[in-house]
Amino acid sequence: MNDKSQIVAEKIARLKAAISLEPHDRVPVAAMADFWPVRLTEKYTMQDAFYNMDIAAECYRKAFGQWDDWDGFNPLLQSIGPLMDATGSRRYNVPGRDLSPNAEFQHPDPSLMDASEYPELIQNPMKFHAEKVIPRLCTRIGSEDPFIRSIAWTKAALFFSQYMAKARNYAGVWANEYGIPPVFQGQTLYVPIDWLADKVRGFHNGLLDIKQHPEELQAACEALVPFITDACLASAPSTGEYPLIFNPQHVSPFLSPKDYQKIYWPTFKKMMDDLTQRGYKVWIFFEHNQEQHLDCLQELPKGKVVAQFESTDFVKAKKALGGKICIAGGMPAMLLTRGTPEEVRQHTLSMLKLFEDEPGFIMSCSTVMPSTAKPENVTAWLETMREHGRLAGGAKRQTEGQNSDSGAARGQATTHERGVITTWETVRSQFGKIQGDEQIIKENWESLETLSLTFLYWMLR
């Protein structure tokens, strides 16, 4: 075990203890970001990073060289500009193409499905997404010219393959060279109505469907649970409590408790119960203010999820959820961008004070790390955590070896059933009499099926 792997093990142990609500040595600090450090370099534009993962990674090398205190950090490395162009995807407005070269990539919210198509989606979500949603999202894949379609799919698959390999490589770099482990594994998990509103119907239509098509929407949410769960887990390395599954929640802050309990909570709760029973733990990002739903959240599996809040009041969140589920957040993105180091320091101390008797707390930025964060504020935040983090987190020093883990720990290395698009049983007869070992063919069939499921889900995000 080199010095970095020991550091990584200690950091993961700290995060795992906080998530499990167990006492540990100090409050962990974790974050995620898109292209947070690009502006720091004063060398590259957002367009450069969006089109080239190596450039994005170079920016992160500079940032992690300066700040390596993170107990966990997920650089999202969304360098997918070439994919957007090759497929004609309308998912993002691209810096340098649709926006200024130094703007952040953004979601333009296209509507890719009519409300009248709910029955078709409900009948077979995978088929509907592959046949209808992706071609509408990606104009070249949706082209009437089969040659353009084929080339677009080919380029997308090639890019996916390169992208995944590079992303895996860089996750290793952050852990092995900088001692910073990942927080998340697999692809992002969405509660079905978030998926429908953000990826399929368009956000405005999604909200209106709650009022205008409630029955179809509820049925669609139910139908989407296995599709989303299987696709998300297809690329998770194993069942295990760490790294976590990431679940951002976008629609819920806009809902009254009445609508939430009718349309959001049933499938959200079902997914959380299912994943945690399988051995996973989930980092849920509750966007905006979700105070109206805090009572409901008390029913989430104890010690098995993390609740990151953006602008929900932390005193209320702690009162409702303290001792039940780990709370994360607490550093407002705006304070990092417009505050002073002293304000950042005082705010950090106030959060540590609030959670001094609560081991279930991870200090994190309220959102992704903002690209306009002042370097001196990031330094002030991490220095304050280093100097005073022991005030909180249960204030109990970890005994040697407790909760330790090795490498970029993956939790228990048990395997689980992987999702597939077309089962082996469905195609078995098409192979005729198999002369050799059927198991070899079946395993390879299913392996490529799982990869395809990952690919299609990735294309839709």
Binding site: N93, S100, E104, Q106, L208, I210, K211, F254, S371
Partner: protein, 215 residues
């Protein structure tokens, strides 16, 4: 669908079809369209109160805006025939600032302002400061309402307000800002006249900014 309750109550209860049936019946019997619109606005005021008290949330406001749009499709041809009593409460130019394309909040505020009787000039998203200054000089809005979602585009909002100030039109127009990363303190710091925490508050702030002198 029952049409027994008041029109305002149908709207405030988000009963779209009932409200539309009531409006069509009232038009058919020759009621004054301006009076009908006034009752619709009372219903919308009630929705605003339900939002402020925590009974309704943004999804309800989005639906209310959609209902109002449907109502106006029925009512607008009748209103065009009316010659008096339909004056605008003021003129508001609204935009999401440069480098930000998020428009859910901006669209909701535009709809609520429209429903409250303002003339709304919607400049869209990712709008450069120069386009906003040009709009001010061409259309003389009472208020410019600026929106952003991203933390990083608060800088863009600040630069937009600075540009409006440089263009000498600052004294002729009030600036209202809103968006997730903002607070009342940030609004002051970047040079705005007012901050709207929600779509309903944005309407109240526009009325306050214009005071008693709409065009």
């Amino acid at each position: 669908m029952s049409t027994g309750g008041s029109l305002g109550a149908s709207i405030s209860d988000l009963q779209e079809q009932t409200a539309l049936d009531q409006i069509r019946a009232r038009i058919d019997r020759g009621d004054d369209p301006v009076a009908i619109l006034s009752e619709c606005r009372q219903g919308l005021d009630e929705i605003g109160k339900k939002y402020e008290t925590g009974e309704y949330f943004i999804a309800d406001l989005v639906y209310a805006a959609s209902i109002f749009k449907s109502i106006m499709e029925v009512l607008a041809p009748e209103l065009r025939k009316a010659t008096t009593g339909n004056e605008k409460a003021g003129r508001v130019a609204i935009a999401t600032v440069k480098d930000d394309i998020h428009d859910i909040g901006k669209n909701l505020v535009a709809s609520m302002l429209d429903a409250a009787g303002f003339e709304v000039i919607d400049l869209g998203v990712d709008v450069p400061a120069e386009a906003i200054c040009k709009c001010i000089s061409e259309h003389q809005p009472d208020v410019v309402a600026l929106s952003c979602l991203l933390t990083s585009t608060v800088d863009s909002m600040e630069a937009t307000i600075a540009e409006i100030s440089r263009s000498a039109s600052r004294g002729k127009v009030k600036i209202l800002v809103g968006g997730v990363p903002l607070s009342p303190e940030t609004a002051v710091a970047i040079g705005a006249d007012a901050y709207g925490e929600s779509a309903t508050e944005a309407v109240v702030k526009c009325k306050e900014l214009i005071g008693g002198s709409p065009r």
